[in-house]
């Protein structure tokens, strides 16, 4: 797989201060970076464009799940053979991408999920750790899939998988929805160790425990109402 075959999809909401550096870090290795500006009120779109990314702009804020699905559709329209989703706040490392793509290129998996809890020496702050482990247990109970890190935004999809995945929960519950779809469609997946760079910035923008309740609600409503 050539670098041009890979499309990096980055959902972004009010990330003007971080987005330029994240795009600049990716572009030398992956020429196709698409930022989905999810109705930001700052100049996220302009900064991303100036840094050399392709930019899609949601005129209205529709949520991270919606932005991901928009970016994935764009990547498919442009003929990408693999899609990598990458957070726009600088918490992911471009060095981890080749490891995510490896199982897909080797034909072992259609989807690779980044996990910050696999491998040794992972420094995840305590509050984050508890919340994320709660999410892992939740996924285990609702989807029946045993993962070590259910809510990591760093993932890779083969074209075939990206074509089949259809994220319909617009907000944050999309992470659980995605796991459900992977299981239902029987798509082979692998968890790959990745490192999350925790900064004051990314921690401030991350989910809090109160947000988790809303996510659980969205998820169950989505399961019931479809």
């Amino acid at each position: 797989m050539q670098p041009e075959d890979i499309c990096i999809v980055m959902p972004a909401f009010n990330e003007a201060s971080a987005i330029g550096a994240v795009v600049a870090e990716l572009l030398p290795h992956y020429p196709r970076v698409v930022v989905v500006d999810d109705g930001s009120r700052d100049d996220t779109a302009e900064r991303a464009l100036a840094a050399g990314a392709m930019v899609l702009r949601h005129p209205l804020n529709r949520g991270q799940g919606a932005a991901l699905q928009t970016g994935i559709r764009f990547a498919l329209e442009r003929g990408s053979r693999a899609v990598v989703t990458f957070d726009s706040d600088g918490q992911h490392r471009p060095e981890d991408i080749p490891r995510l793509l490896e199982p897909i290129a080797a034909g072992r998996a259609e989807i690779a999920l980044g996990s910050r809890f696999l491998g040794a020496g992972r420094s995840v702050p305590m509050g984050r750790r508890l919340l994320l482990k709660g999410a892992v247990v939740f996924t285990r109970l609702t989807s029946g899939v045993a993962l070590t890190d259910a809510h990591n935004g760093l993932r890779a999809f083969s074209r075939r998988a990206a074509e089949r995945i259809d994220i319909r929960l617009d907000r944050m519950a999309h992470a659980s929805e995605l796991i459900d779809q992977i299981r239902r469609m029987g798509l082979p997946f692998e968890e790959v160790p990745v490192t999350v760079r925790y900064t004051d910035y990314s921690l401030a923008k991350g989910q809090r425990a109160s947000g988790a309740l809303k996510i659980v609600f969205d998820y169950f409503v989505g399961r019931i109402l479809g």
Binding site: L27, P31, R32, V36, G39, A45, L49, A50, G52, A53, M54, V55, L56, R57, H58, P59, L60, R62, A66, Q69, T70, R73, F74, E77, R168, D170, V221, L225
Partner: protein, 126 residues
């Protein structure tokens, strides 16, 4: 027929007026047949229940509820819950449409940087 008090007269008039409005809408096909007939029946029953409150008690006792007013109260709560659910389901469909529309516009108006090797794919700016 026993005399009606002022509240009954007002209530019955209101219910019958709405029933007439619904009938007209139904005849002119401004609302669907199912919902039209449903609301016509609801408002006619409301008029009957206001005119003869004792009737609701008869139905209530038949259902094992002691007072007619309680039956009406329970039915009202049930109707409200169904109403909330239907409204919420409709809101979700609306949100999904909104997302589709937003996505369509975002994909249509994709902006490509002019400085990278993607520039060959940008539309000519003549």
């Amino acid at each position: 027929m026993m005399g009606l008090n002022i509240f009954q007269i007002l209530g019955i008039s209101l219910a019958l007026c709405i029933a007439v409005v619904v009938s007209v809408a139904l005849l002119r096909r401004r609302i669907g047949r199912g919902p039209g007939v449903f609301w016509l029946v609801v408002w006619l029953l409301a008029a009957v229940a206001i005119a003869a409150p004792g009737l609701t008690s008869v139905v209530a006792r038949f259902l094992g509820i002691s007072r007619g007013a309680d039956l009406v109260f329970y039915l009202a709560i049930l109707a409200m819950m169904v109403g909330f659910f239907l409204t919420y389901a409709r809101l979700r469909r609306l949100e999904a449409s909104l997302t589709e529309l937003t996505r369509y516009q975002a994909l249509r108006d994709a902006r490509l940087p002019t400085t990278t090797d993607e520039s060959a794919e940008t539309p000519p700016t003549s």
